[in-house]
């Protein structure tokens, strides 16, 4: 008999997924499956999937190794970069340890320069990501897809066929559709689950190595949420918050926690842990698979792009669809691109969408929890 877990248990399981997959990654290695460590939403997972390899996100989320990283990197640098480098350098992250290759992109200045140091102790491959979503940029990125594919073929002595890439595109699109179906449950008012629980599933699902299994698993969670909602759970209508800005997770979940402890609910995430990574599908009809991938990934609205129209498009759409009442932008300390862009985002949210906006700058320490609490509480009191 299959035991049906209740929702809180399901959410906790996802929250623990990162840790629980430590063993899974070792098993993959034992079976001879190559593991590719990645840092960014711009990374074309499909190429790696087509090779029968696994990808794992290496973005670190705790301040445990920041001090170690500061021996090499400047103190005044984004905590995500410092922490990620630190986990690699001190060999404290099992995913980093088991990665045969680490792939980065020329995204922000901090990351691309950090990779130069990382290459001293790990095989690192850096894809060239254009700064601009132009025709020339698309051409370059398409060529980068091919160059990366050829690099993988040579390094692992395997062939990556276009048919295999096409299959991977379909598999990954299905996973994205399922995840979108999950976060769309938050359109209801009151929301059927908390924003923190939603986050746990979104974040945890990135540590599921078999992307083909995601749809069934997520659909089941969604069904359970809907059944629960139909039974009439006791959640109340609360001020509805959208989180945008830098990637969050681990230490920075403090922001979600404070917002929800103070009586509001995070209805959607526009950042890399949320809609930004999932919203758009790769065109399955496009004959040129490399062009299809380049198009889809280049369209991601990250602040490293200039100008960055897709961010406002997605932000505006989410604000409308999720009846957002306030936008909280989370900026990691010393993240120049998001920090500079925050002025334009503020204008867009306040003047075009006519709802309040606040930006908070934070890092992976817990030193600012008191200050964050005062700012976010005051923001929620405004709504």
């Amino acid at each position: 008999m299959e035991l049906v877990k209740d929702l809180p248990e399901v959410f906790e399981e996802f929250a623990e997924q990162r840790k629980n997959s430590f063993l899974a990654v070792k098993e993959l290695k034992d079976q001879g499956v190559p593991v590719i460590g990645v840092y960014c939403t711009y990374f074309p997972q499909e190429i790696v999937m087509a090779m029968g390899a696994a990808t794992v996100s290496l973005c670190s989320t705790s301040d445990e190794t920041v001090a170690a990283a500061e021996k090499t990197l400047p103190k005044n640098l984004c905590p995500l970069i410092k922490s990620s480098y630190g986990f690699g350098e001190t060999d404290k992250c099992p995913y980093f340890y088991f990665s045969d290759l680490v792939v980065g992109e020329t995204t922000c200045d901090g990351k691309k320069k950090m990779y130069e140091y990382m290459a001293d102790f790990k095989p690192v491959y850096v894809m060239e990501l254009p700064n601009r979503q132009s025709e020339m940029g698309l051409k370059l990125f398409r060529e980068e897809m091919i160059r990366f594919k050829e690099y993988l073929e040579k390094m692992f002595n395997r062939e990556i066929t276009e048919d295999a890439i096409r299959d991977a595109i379909k598999t990954n699109n299905a996973a994205r559709r399922a995840l979108r179906g999950l976060y769309e449950v938050m359109r209801s008012d009151p929301t059927p689950i908390s924003g923190h629980d939603l986050f746990k599933v979104l974040y945890g699902s990135t540590f599921k190595f078999d992307r083909a299994k995601i749809p069934a698993e997520i659909d089941e969670v969604v069904q359970q949420i809907k059944d629960d909602e139909a039974k009439g759970n006791e959640r109340k209508s609360k001020p509805r918050i959208l989180i945008t800005g830098c990637p969050i997770g681990g230490a920075t979940e403090k922001v979600i926690k404070i917002i929800e402890d103070r009586g509001a609910v995070v209805v959607t995430y526009e950042n890399c842990t949320g809609a930004k990574a999932i919203d758009k599908l790769v065109d399955e009809e496009e004959e040129d698979v490399y062009l299809a991938l380049a198009k889809r990934y280049l369209e991601i609205g990250c602040s490293v792009m200039t100008p960055n129209p897709h961010r406002y498009e997605l932000l505006g759409r989410l604000i409308d669809e999720y009846q957002v009442e306030g936008v909280v932008e989370v900026i990691l300390q010393a993240c120049h691109t998001y920090n500079v862009e925050s002025g334009k985002v503020r204008d867009f949210v306040k003047n075009e969408k006519n709802i309040p906006y606040i930006s908070v700058e934070t890092d992976y320490s817990s030193a600012d929890v008191g200050q964050l609490d005062t700012r976010l509480s005051a923001f929620i009191e405004m709504l």
Binding site: P356, E361, A367, G370, Q371, T374, R375, A378, E381
Partner: protein, 256 residues
């Protein structure tokens, strides 16, 4: 019914009572906010203001707000200052609050907080900066401002309180005039506070609240930096407590 607003700041605690009896007093916060909250309770009872159930509504604010265990509600200092500042200004306005450990810029639109900014993780541009520097010169707050008025600004380039203090020690060592150093200190704080303010958002009326709110010299320095008139408020240090008391009276949704 009494409506009691208690604002426990990092340096001073302010209390405003509205309703049957009106009262306002201030006392130093000291090192223990819980003890201060107890002292306030005693003092209110001494003034025959009962805090018994059904006789009073208490709202606590300020960084020590959670220490007031007899409060009916806890509201952040932003919302309370906004409400109190609006009352003092009598119209939509911008409020600049220079507190003991933080500085706030609050924009009031249609009587409620429309936007706000607070200083980040740094004491430059707060009362704490002035306190440290006055101590270094061996003078009181009042003396610092009196000296500054007769001095020529000696620029203090460092924004960090600790580094600025060593800069001042250097100035003293080089035999610079105390008046000029004092003027430099006040100028530095006014400069840092003005950086927090979003000039584009300044409405016609701008008021200063907090411990320096009735300090004409500081108000002038700040006005010069902002190139915009800043209005001193006589009771500005009570803005947070006043707002808390008013919210105690008005806030039905808090269930109080």
């Amino acid at each position: 019914m009494y409506y009691v607003g208690i604002d426990i700041g990092s340096t001073a605690s302010k209390v405003v009572v509205l309703g049957e009896k009106e009262e306002a007093f201030v006392l130093p916060t000291g090192w223990n906010s819980k003890e201060t909250a107890g002292l306030i309770k005693k003092r209110l009872q001494g003034a025959a203001i009962s805090l018994a159930e059904g006789k009073a509504k208490v709202v606590a604010t300020g960084y020590g707000r959670v220490a007031v265990d007899y409060a009916d509600a806890i509201i952040t200092e932003i919302t309370c200052h906004g409400r109190g500042g609006f009352e003092l200004a009598g119209a939509d306005c911008a409020i600049i609050d220079v507190g003991g450990q933080d500085t706030k810029f609050i924009v009031i639109e249609n009587g409620v907080v429309g936007d706000f900014v607070m200083n980040d993780k740094c004491s430059a541009g707060t009362g704490k900066f002035l306190e440290v520097m006055a101590n270094r010169l061996g003078i009181t707050f009042e003396e610092l401002f009196a000296l500054a008025e007769g001095g020529e600004v000696l620029p203090i380039s460092s924004l960090c309180t600790v580094f600025a203090e060593s800069e001042i020690i250097n100035h003293i060592g080089n035999g610079k005039k105390r008046e000029d150093i004092a003027a430099g200190i006040v100028d530095s704080v006014a400069g840092k506070v003005s950086q927090l303010v979003r000039s584009a958002q300044l409405p016609e009326k701008v008021i200063l609240t907090g411990g320096l709110s009735d300090n004409e010299y500081f108000v002038q320095c700040l006005g010069a930096k902002l190139e915009h008139k800043v209005q001193a408020t006589e009771k500005g240090r009570y803005a947070g407590a006043l707002g808390a008391a008013l919210l105690a009276k008005e806030k039905k949704r808090l269930g109080i």
